[in-house]
């Protein structure tokens, strides 16, 4: 279970109190995750990430000067290997979808426990997306074929397969990847593949709901 090198995490949040709380929680209880730096503004974050090259950036959605999406836009072209996990108090579709479409690998709310946060960090580090039940619900809604919806322009991106839909449904019901694998009689690896594919479609699809939610926050 213990990995050879700990996951190096960089914290971006404009609330110093919250940063120190997360840092204390991760340093105290999770040995294989270390916080290597933190930033309280977009400019600090861009400079800090470029300098320290962390494995995972925990990114607050709401910050002055453009928020988490602005950090993503400035850092990702130069450093495509850095993985972003969005962390926010907001539960609104506009915020969640906007930051996912800007390139974050996952989204968790700030009420998450330290242990769960460490799990999420390890998972995005390993390349798998992290979908909270609510994010899964939003994505299911965005890809639903309700009457009156515009026909998909790119079927490969604008439609979910039945299996992906099943996986999302179970995620929304609060199942872990392992539990989903057991439920659908597939391997955990396959579940991860499906979720990655859903993440890619969420980021790239031109479905009306997705672009609307994202543009409502003017983050795309």
């Amino acid at each position: 279970m213990t990995e050879p090198a700990p996951v190096r995490v960089f914290l971006v949040d404009d609330h110093a109190l919250f940063r120190s709380g997360v840092r204390a929680e991760l340093d105290r209880s999770v040995p294989d995750v270390t916080v290597v730096g933190e930033a309280g503004s977009v400019a600090e974050a861009v400079a800090g990430i470029a300098h320290l090259r962390p494995d995972v950036v925990l990114l607050d959605v709401h910050m002055p000067d453009g928020g988490g999406a602005e950090v993503l836009r400035k850092v990702r072209p130069a450093l495509p290997d850095v993985v972003f996990l969005a962390l926010s108090v907001s539960d609104a579709a506009e915020d969640v979808i906007a930051v996912i479409r800007a390139g974050a690998r996952g989204y968790v709310t700030k009420t998450i426990s330290g242990r769960e946060l460490a799990d999420a960090v390890r998972r995005v580090r390993a390349g798998d997306p992290v979908f909270s039940p609510r994010l899964a619900g939003f994505v299911l809604d965005a890809f639903s074929d309700r009457p009156g919806a515009a026909p998909p322009t790119d079927p490969e991106l604008d439609l979910l397969t039945r299996r992906e839909r099943d996986v999302l449904r179970l995620l929304a019901r609060g199942y872990s990847y392992r539990e989903i694998a057991g439920e659908l009689f597939i391997s955990v690896k396959t579940v991860e593949t499906h979720v990655s594919s859903v993440l890619r479609k969420t980021q790239l699809s031109n479905r009306y709901e997705l672009s609307r939610w994202a543009s409502d926050r003017r983050l795309v």
Binding site: S90, A92, A93, G137, D141, S144, G148, R173, G174, D216
Partner: protein, 422 residues
């Protein structure tokens, strides 16, 4: 007839008036009948036309009342007022015949000018009233413009005739040119002042709107967040209570900001009749408050109006949440609802103790009666998956026939899409 406003500062009446509401306002202020006030104005006409002067001055300096009070003018009162006006005219003529020159002017061309001014002023009152009535009340502006122009013509004609009768032509020409030149000069000089006035007015209005919004948010935060923080400080020795308060407040604020489903944009109004999403969120909130744990419902597939079947489904879901809260020994319960065209599925799941379904003790009727009984009575089904140490999931399925609430929402979305289209 509504109760008139209490006597206090003098205000002109906005409703139930004949000319400008001056007499009515004075009557309200003095606590006497309108008829007596009007009669007093007529009597003043005998004193060098002081009645008209007094009425005009009151019109200029007394504000309209700002509150809308419903009044009706009876035909009898209207007749009385017209009679009094005619009487006033007669009194003025009689005084003029007796050699009072001031009255002669009033009844002559200057009378015409005064009538014209009255029409224009009355229109200004109307404009103010329309502004109070709210934006979008732009009906009838053509007639209003016509009245203003007619009134202005009356004034101009009256003054012109008066001047022509008293002065010779050359002086009038010179005077008119001088007046015109002065007016143009003043207009040119004061342009920056006018521009600033208009800009300040707009700025002030924006400022006021911002202030109102800020006050509303401050009031909400005071009623909710600050109260809760005060409670938390007093309960700080009980972690369970603090967690319960914090979670309840978080939920309340979240709903206020984003709506029950997480889709509402800030500032949008809440729908009048709550649908399934709100009902499930409310049920989850009750369970959270009662048992101090986290229940976060996720609803997929749009909203639906509540009917009896769906209400039963919500109650059964609530009972399943309560069961999980009581017996599972966890601090989080997952609730997932999926609305499909012909059925609604709700999953209530915990990762807690679980149990052997066949070995449920007799005192645990909750699941059998409240959940299964309720669902089967309304044509729904219940499926239970549990195992000791493996958590519990209750799957509630309810067939539905009602039209979804979201049909209207889809139409709105389609309209928005058109607007957003490049």
């Amino acid at each position: 007839m509504a109760v008139p406003p209490p006597a206090g500062a003098l205000h002109r009446r906005r409703s139930g008036r004949l000319v400008a509401g001056v007499a009515g306002g004075v009557a309200d202020h003095l606590g006497v009948k309108v008829l007596w006030v009007r009669a007093a104005f007529v009597a003043l006409m005998a004193v060098s036309g002081a009645g008209v002067l007094a009425y005009g001055l009151l019109w200029i300096f007394v504000r309209q009342e700002s509150a809308t009070v419903e009044r009706t003018v009876s035909g009898r009162e209207r007749q009385q007022a017209l009679g009094l006006a005619a009487l006033g005219l007669g009194v003025g003529l009689a005084a003029s015949a007796l050699g009072n020159s001031a009255i002669g002017w009033v009844v002559g061309p200057l009378g015409v000018a005064i009538a014209g001014a009255a029409v224009v002023w009355r229109e200004a009152d109307e404009a103010q009233r329309r502004r109070w009535a709210g934006a979008g009340a732009r009906t009838g502006w053509r007639a209003a413009l016509l009245r203003v122009v007619a009134g202005a013509l009356f004034v101009a004609a009256g003054i012109a005739v008066f001047l022509l009768g008293n002065l010779d032509m050359g002086q009038v020409q010179f005077g008119l040119l001088a007046v015109l030149a002065t007016l143009v000069g003043v207009a040119v000089i004061t342009v920056p002042w006018w521009v600033r006035l208009v800009r300040d007015l707009g700025e002030e209005r924006r400022e006021r709107i911002r202030e109102t919004e800020r006050a509303e948010i401050a009031a909400h935060l005071h009623d909710s967040v600050l109260q809760t923080l005060a409670l938390i400080q007093r309960q700080s020795d009980s972690p369970r209570e603090v967690a319960r308060l914090a979670r309840g407040q978080e939920r309340e604020l979240r709903t206020w900001l984003y709506g029950a489903g997480g889709y509402r944009r800030p500032g949008a109004s809440t729908p009048a009749d709550a649908g399934l999403t709100e009902a499930l969120a409310a049920a989850a909130a009750e369970v959270e408050d009662t048992y101090a744990l986290t229940v976060r419902p996720v609803v997929v597939g749009g909203d639906r109006a509540l009917d009896d079947d769906l209400r039963a489904l919500v109650l059964a879901s609530r009972e399943a949440m309560v069961n999980a809260a009581k017996h599972a020994g966890v601090d989080e319960v997952s609730v997932y609802a999926e609305v499909e065209p012909d059925e609604v599925n709700v999953f209530v799941r915990d990762r807690g103790a679980g149990f052997e379904p066949d070995a449920v003790p007799d005192d645990r009727h909750g699941l059998a009666d409240s959940v299964r009984g309720r669902m089967t009575r309304h044509g729904g089904t219940v499926r239970l998956r549990t195992h000791p140490g493996d958590g519990t999931e209750v799957h509630l399925r309810m067939p539905v026939a009602t039209l979804p609430v979201e049909e209207a929402a889809v139409e709105v979305a389609a309209v928005e899409e058109k607007e957003h289209a490049p």
